[in-house]
Each structure stands twice: as structure tokens, then as C-alpha cells.
């Protein structure tokens, strides 16, 4: 029997400063066999160990179609994220996973996809966006609405060009308040959605962002005509074990770590999860 709580050692091979408080870490397992067998779905997460500090869950932000090491984007927040931000390339961390259900890719096929992201909420969506773009024929139109407080807080800036150029793909960027030299949209994400009124026909909306954004985005999507089953979100919750045992992440009878983190809005309503 194996120790299910034991991580694999991994090395940080690259660190990219996305915003003043968000860094993306690229990791390679020390054990090549682990590296080769590691496989994930967009929307899944890993438990990230910084030895001596602890463990925290982060979603995998790279697409499984683009394998050059696991990528996790981390916003400096609490104890573990702060410690993580102190690390350099070449440092060793621990990884176990992948955990969680991931996005229901089969259900998204032949659909118009509306991605709605706020701040670091783009991280799990980036994995799925790139997956869809790499399997472009399986999906209809792709619309990305990505917002942040200021232009400085936008993540994955160097991928925007590729997304805009992709076939039948639109990218809308927005910041909360007008800034000098900002040429894209201005206003919070729900407001922008109200203006854009993206099609709900044959569409699925995939939403991720801070709780307050999700809360105000849901009614707008419903108003546009999305049914609760066609709105998908990925939840952030305090998780420790990732295995449905430690008990803190459950909503209703489900565990965000094991049965989530991806849920439809319809599911969340039956689970009485308050957004």
C-alpha cells in the first residue's frame, strides 16, 4: 500500500512574474517516470508542497496538449503562497495529484464556448482555452471575456495575441476603471457581459474568478438566456487532503476536491451552495 499523502519531488524550472502579486511556476518531476506518466485534464489541480511550510492546492494552468512541465499560477496571499513566491528556479517542491474532476470536455464539444474570467480566475480557463484551440475542430466559436482590476493585474498577457488570431475566437479584455493608454473595454465583468450579450444558443459559459465576480455574473448569464446547466464554474475552497477525507471542502454531500472543483450552476443550486 502506498502513502497517499506522499508527494513527488519536483523542481521549479521556470518562474514568470505575471502581475505584481502573481507568479507562474513551471515544474518538472525529479523522477522521469513520474513526469512521463503524469496526465491531467483541464480544470484539475495539484497539491503543492513547500517543505517546512505546508501544502496547498493550485489548479494546473497549462493544457495537457502542451506538455513541457506542470504550470501553476499563484497569487501571493497566505503562508504557503508567500513562501512559494520566495522560491527560485532550481528549488525543490512537492507535488501530488492531479486531483478533481476537471472540465466536462465531452459536454463542451460542438458548442459555442464563452469563457468568463476575472483576475487569476483565468488560470484554470487557460488550460481549457488552449486545449480547445489545440483541438479547434471539436468546438464551435470561442469567446473569452477576461477582466482584472487594472491592466497590471491581467495574467498570461503574452498569449492574448495567439488567442485573438485563432479561428473563430474573440477576446475581450476589460479593466475595472479607465486607465491611460488602455484601448480595450472598461467596466466590471458582469457589466461587460451585459453589453456584449454573447449568444446562448448551443453555448456553454465557463466562469472563474473571485467570488464576488461569480456572484454578479450568474444573474447576467441567466438573463442572457443561459440555462443553469450550461453555466460551469470551478470553485475555490480551502482544501487539505485532495482525497475527500479531511472534510473542510464539502458542499452538500460532495467534496470540492474529489467531486469538483468543476460544477454546473444547476448543481450548485441543488447543493445549496451560496455564491
Amino acid at each position: 500500500m502506498k502513502n497517499i499523502y506522499l508527494p513527488h519531488l519536483a523542481e521549479i524550472v521556470d518562474i514568470k512574474q505575471e502581475t505584481p502579486d502573481i507568479k507562474t511556476f513551471k515544474l518538472k518531476f525529479k523522477d522521469q517516470a513520474v513526469e512521463d506518466s503524469f496526465d491531467h485534464k483541464p480544470g484539475q489541480f495539484v497539491e503543492f508542497s513547500i517543505f517546512g511550510e505546508g501544502e496547498a492546492p493550485f489548479c494546473i494552468s497549462n493544457s495537457p496538449t502542451r506538455k513541457s512541465g506542470i504550470e501553476c499560477s499563484v497569487k501571493r496571499m497566505g503562508k504557503i503562497t508567500q513562501a512559494l513566491h520566495e522560491l527560485d528556479t532550481g528549488d525543490t517542491v512537492g507535488i501530488r495529484g492531479p486531483y478533481g474532476n476537471g472540465f466536462p470536455i465531452e459536454d463542451l464539444k460542438n458548442k459555442n464556448l464563452l469563457f468568463v474570467a476575472g483576475g487569476i480566475g483565468l488560470a484554470p480557463l487557460r488550460s481549457l482555452i488552449n486545449y480547445c484551440l489545440d483541438n479547434r475542430n471539436n468546438f464551435k466559436s470561442v469567446t473569452i471575456v477576461n477582466g482584472a482590476r487594472t491592466s497590471k493585474d491581467l495574467v498570461y498577457k503574452d498569449e492574448y495575441q495567439a488567442w485573438e488570431k485563432a479561428r473563430d475566437t474573440k477576446l475581450y479584455l476589460t479593466v475595472d476603471c479607465q486607465e491611460e493608454n488602455w484601448t480595450c473595454m472598461v467596466g466590471v465583468v458582469p457589466k461587460i457581459l451585459e453589453q456584449l450579450k454573447p449568444t446562448c444558443q448551443d453555448s456553454v459559459a465557463i466562469v472563474c474568478g473571485p467570488p464576488i465576480m461569480i456572484k454578479y455574473t450568474m444573474p447576467v448569464l441567466l438573463k442572457i438566456g443561459f440555462c443553469p446547466e450550461a453555466i460551469i464554474t470551478t470553485l475555490e475552497m480551502k482544501m487539505k487532503c485532495g482525497l475527500g477525507k479531511c472534510g473542510r471542502c464539502n458542499i452538500g454531500n460532495l467534496y470540492v476536491c474529489k467531486d469538483g472543483p468543476v460544477f454546473s450552476y444547476a448543481q450548485l443550486k441543488t447543493l445549496r451552495y451560496e455564491l
Binding site: N3, F51, E53, G94, E236, K240, C241, K245, G247
Partner: protein
């Protein structure tokens, strides 16, 4: 199943013999403290009376404080060192049927989809000799939770004290291996008496409650706020519960530690961002009740409660979960 009549002396003599190969653990009465599971060096120290232990037998399987691994840093290289599992064989004696039922419920979480090797190892290295309840108190409601105060429910053998002797029922092969050699077979007459006795003992559990089938319907009811007002948000009910199994993982001195945690604590679900999905006593207490009487039932078909009464007995403000569940406004 094998039935035997065993005298106290025979039992102690056997335990003395078994002490050579096993760690023997059982209830011991401690002055000004209560009854606790302790390693027994002398069988005479065992408490096999009517009282209940404060801490549940859970703590001998799901260690309150367990080191998972150690991260070594040597010559500027990290390596992970696993903590060796204890292999010592052990006998736990004097365990109440409700507590082993609790272990069977914990098996569903810790010995199923993702097996927790620490828990499974503890299960595998242990022989459990139960003790039937001769005097349930008013906080006991095991019979309402589909359990029994006299039947084995997951023990390898079970003792019934009767007229200064023990009646021993051996259930499993593990039990037979260590206990098979002692005692005499009871006569048919004695067997009959014993059966009658058992039935009588079952009636001693006076508190009867009905756990609602559809608690889900009253999730939003103001009832939960009412019943949780006096809750102190301490960890007594969860830590002393034979089935509560939530934990925390922290790093201390480059070692990973698992320790008990519980849904009553404010910080249990508090995120680094400051968000807390269960910010008040209402959400936290409701979580405890729902995990036990709704969510677990949905996932595993049974209530996550064995009716041992510990959370009522030791609640600093006498919150009574049996009454709260029974009176839920469904």
C-alpha cells in the same frame, strides 16, 4: 460463532500470557480524570465496568497526531523519508459495540477509494475484544442508530459480564486464534438464559430518537440558528466522536503532520483570502448535523453517528444532538 463461559481469572491469565506477543490496550480508570484507553501492563488494571471511556477507540486507529513523512535536506538536495509504520500486534479489550461500529463507518472513508495506509495498518494489526453494555446511560441512543449495545458489530470477540463471570462470544478467526483456548462451553440451559439476558439488556437503551430521512428539506430553517446559539465552537464533540474524522495537514520542522480538526472551529474553512463559507455557528453546527445525518447517508447509506452519547456527555453547554435531530422541523 463460538460461545464460552470464562472466569475473570482465566481471562487475566490469558492476557498475561498474550502480553508477551501483543500490546494490550484497554480501559483504565484514572483518578479525577475518568476512564481512558491505556496500554495495560497488568490485566488487574483493566476497567471492565459499566462506565464509558472519555476518548473513543478511534484515537487508536486515526492517531490524533500522525507524522506522514519527513523532508531531508542534505548536500543541498531534498529527499523524502517515509515514516515507518508500527507493526506491533495489539489487542484492544473492553471496546463498546458502538465504538467498533464507528470503526466500520470510518472504514468507508479510510479503507475504501483512497486507502489511508496509516489507518489500514492500525486496523490490520489489531484484535478487538468488545464489551457489551450492561448499563447504557440516558445519553446513549445506539439502538436508534441501527446499532446495538449487546451485539458484536465489528469486534473479533465480545464479552458479557454476568454473575461475576464473562460470557464470551468469539466472532472472527482472529478472535478464535487468541481466545479459542479458554473457558468452557455453556450448557443449553445457560445459553437460553443468556439469550434472554441479551434481550433484556437491549431494552436498557431508553433514549429513542428518529433521525429524519429528508433533513435536506430544512437546510434553510431558522431552527439551526436557534439550536446552535449556545455552541462554543470548541472541538470536544468532534474530537471525542467515534466517527468524526476531519483533519488538518501542517508542516512542522520539515515534517508533515496530520492532526484532528473539526467543523465547529471558526478557522476550519477560513481561506487565506479571508473568505469563510461557514462564518457563523449556524453554518458550522448545521454542517456537523448534516454531515452525520444527511451527507454521509447520501454517500454511504448510513448515518455517521453511532449514538454513543459522548458529544452530549461532554458538551460544555449540554447541547444534545439526539434531541436536535429528533426535533428537526421536517
Amino acid at each position: 460463532m463460538i460461545q464460552k463461559i470464562v472466569t475473570k481469572e482465566e481471562l487475566y491469565k490469558l492476557l498475561n500470557y498474550l502480553l508477551q506477543d501483543f500490546e494490550v490496550i484497554g480501559p483504565k480508570e484514572l483518578t479525577n480524570r475518568g476512564i481512558f484507553y491505556e496500554t495495560i501492563k497488568n490485566p488487574q488494571d483493566l476497567y471492565l465496568g459499566e462506565g464509558f471511556t472519555t476518548e473513543p477507540v478511534k484515537k487508536l486507529f486515526l492517531n490524533p497526531s500522525e507524522w506522514f513523512f519527513k523532508c531531508q535536506y542534505k548536500d543541498s538536495k531534498n529527499s523524502l523519508e517515509e515514516i515507518a509504520l508500527t507493526k506491533t500486534k495489539r489487542i484492544i479489550i473492553g471496546v463498546r459495540p458502538c465504538e467498533t461500529k464507528g470503526l466500520e463507518l470510518l472504514d468507508k472513508v479510510y479503507n475504501s477509494e483512497y486507502k489511508d495506509e496509516f489507518y489500514v495498518n492500525n486496523r490490520n494489526r489489531t484484535v478487538i475484544i468488545g464489551l457489551s453494555c450492561a448499563k447504557p446511560d440516558r445519553n446513549c441512543f445506539c439502538t436508534s442508530m441501527g446499532g446495538s449495545n449487546v451485539e458484536s458489530q465489528g469486534t473479533d470477540a465480545i464479552l458479557f459480564d454476568r454473575d461475576g463471570k464473562f460470557i464470551l462470544e468469539i466472532i472472527t478467526d482472529k478472535g478464535k486464534e487468541i481466545l479459542g483456548s479458554i473457558g468452557n462451553e455453556p450448557s443449553e440451559e445457560e445459553k437460553k438464559h443468556w439469550q434472554q439476558d441479551k434481550e433484556k439488556r437491549k431494552d436498557l437503551v431508553k433514549t429513542k430518537i428518529k433521525a429524519p430521512e429528508d433533513l435536506d428539506k430544512v437546510f434553510e430553517d431558522p431552527y439551526w440558528e436557534q439550536v446552535s446559539k449556545s455552541c462554543l465552537s470548541c472541538g470536544i464533540c468532534t474530537f471525542l466522536c467515534p466517527t468524526c474524522h476531519c483533519f488538518d495537514l501542517v508542516d512542522e520542522q520539515r515534517r508533515r503532520l496530520r492532526c484532528y480538526d473539526g467543523c465547529a472551529f471558526v478557522d476550519f474553512t477560513l481561506q487565506a483570502s479571508g473568505e469563510n463559507p461557514r462564518p457563523t455557528k449556524k453554518e458550522r453546527y448545521r454542517q456537523r448535523v448534516f454531515h452525520k445525518f444527511d451527507y454521509f447517508k447520501k454517500n454511504f447509506g448510513e448515518n455517521l453517528c453511532v449514538g454513543c452519547g459522548r458529544c452530549i456527555r461532554y458538551c460544555p453547554v449540554k447541547i444534545d444532538i439526539s434531541e436536535i435531530v429528533d426535533k428537526a422541523p421536517v
